[in-house]
């Protein structure tokens, strides 16, 4: 199971905590806090392993990732504050709806964004699927930054990595091609997760009985995922991402009604 999670997570730039946590707690009877801790370790393993491939192929936009990471990290820390103000259940319904909407938007637009030079955080990578060099610039950096604050806030609040929100923000709004988006999101989720994991470790929720086998499985899977992501066409990758988003939306909805808590 961890191997499969590693393949998908690293292929799509999402951590998969939203699937992993209920699966561990419902199917394996793992206490919820331990399940979250295990899932966070998995996200770190996915991110670290996948980056060794993405970075060496020049697909990760490191500067963009760092910039947005400021926003998501601040948002995540502020998550605790928001939790007091808003009912978690309402929030979960809202985000289920948002995920479904994003999946529909990606579906409606069909293919990947058309890369365009904008003079902001420009980068280029070679896409083996289309056998072309893709050059692109970032659009709407300010809006992306503000929305990333929100994405970070959600992850701090709901205990999910937030990759499912980072990918659409960068891809749909900021005009970053899907593959560069996935690679960059993958870099960012590792940072968010590491900060969370250290806290879970300190509080004694980390259980090697689950975390060690899961991490080893993920590390193996996350070697394969990025290679698939690099080779697949952006269109196929987009389709897979939409399906996963839809599943995420359903999981979030189930959480909203109280399952897997």
């Amino acid at each position: 199971m961890a191997f499969v999670a590693g393949v998908f997570g690293s292929m799509l730039g999402v951590g998969g905590g939203i699937i992993m946590v209920p699966m561990l707690s419902l199917a394996f009877g793992v206490p919820i806090k331990v399940a979250i801790a295990t899932s966070i370790v998995c996200v770190i393993a996915t991110s670290s392993m996948a980056q060794t491939t993405f970075v060496s192929r020049g697909m990760t936009n490191i500067r963009l990732g760092m910039l947005l990471e400021v926003a998501t990290a601040i948002g995540a820390v502020a998550g605790g504050v928001t939790a007091v103000l808003v009912d978690g259940r309402v929030l979960q319904f809202c985000f289920a709806a948002l995920l479904a909407y994003v999946a529909w938007q990606m579906n409606r637009r069909g293919g990947d964004v058309t890369p365009a030079r904008t003079g902001v955080l420009e980068a280029a990578y070679y896409d083996p699927a289309s056998r072309r060099d893709v050059e692109y610039g970032v659009r709407r950096p300010r809006l992306g930054f503000v929305l990333s604050l929100g994405a970070g806030n959600v992850s701090g609040l709901l205990g999910v990595g937030g990759g499912a929100f980072k990918v659409p923000i960068m891809n749909l709004l900021m005009g970053v091609p899907l593959k560069a988006t996935i690679a960059t999101s993958n870099l960012m989720i590792g940072v968010t997760a590491a900060a969370g994991a250290a806290i879970f470790y300190g509080r004694g929720y980390m259980d090697p009985y689950y975390a060690v086998p899961a991490a080893l499985g993920i590390l193996a899977g996350a070697r394969l995922g990025p290679r698939l992501a690099v080779r697949l066409s952006a269109r196929a990758l987009g389709m897979i991402f939409q399906v996963v988003l839809a599943v995420f939306a359903v999981m979030m909805l189930l959480r909203g009604v109280g399952l897997g808590q």
Partner: protein, 110 residues
């Protein structure tokens, strides 16, 4: 590869290799004692003594710590590269990320 990409790749590979080696050592130690996988991690303060014992749980715990610490080191390493390249803007950006990560640790303990 750019210097920053090379640095990140190198840090991640070292982190992964070290954590896998530690976890494997812990697993082997556990099997050798016929105890199976231990439950619960060793708290940081007791880690040195447990490593010397040697308790399998200590090696598994240290493996997890290295895995968790790798992104921290990666951000710190990026900071060093940006400083060397005199990229003032991203020195600031990366330092902020590192600061907020550490802030989260401090706040999390309360």
């Amino acid at each position: 590869m750019e210097p920053i990409e090379r640095a990140i790749r190198w840090i991640l590979l070292c982190g992964i290799a070290l954590s896998v080696a530690l976890m494997a050592a812990g697993l082997l130690l556990g099997v050798a004692r016929g105890a199976g996988l231990p439950r619960g991690v060793v708290p940081l303060a007791e880690l040195p003594r447990a490593l010397a014992a040697p308790r399998p749980a200590a090696y598994l715990s240290l493996g997890l710590i290295v895995l968790i610490g790798t992104p921290f080191v990666r951000v710190a390493g990026s900071l060093v590269v940006f400083v060397r390249e005199r990229d003032g803007r991203y020195v600031l950006v990366t330092a902020t990320v590192l600061f907020v990560m550490c802030l989260g640790l401090v706040l999390g303990k309360v």
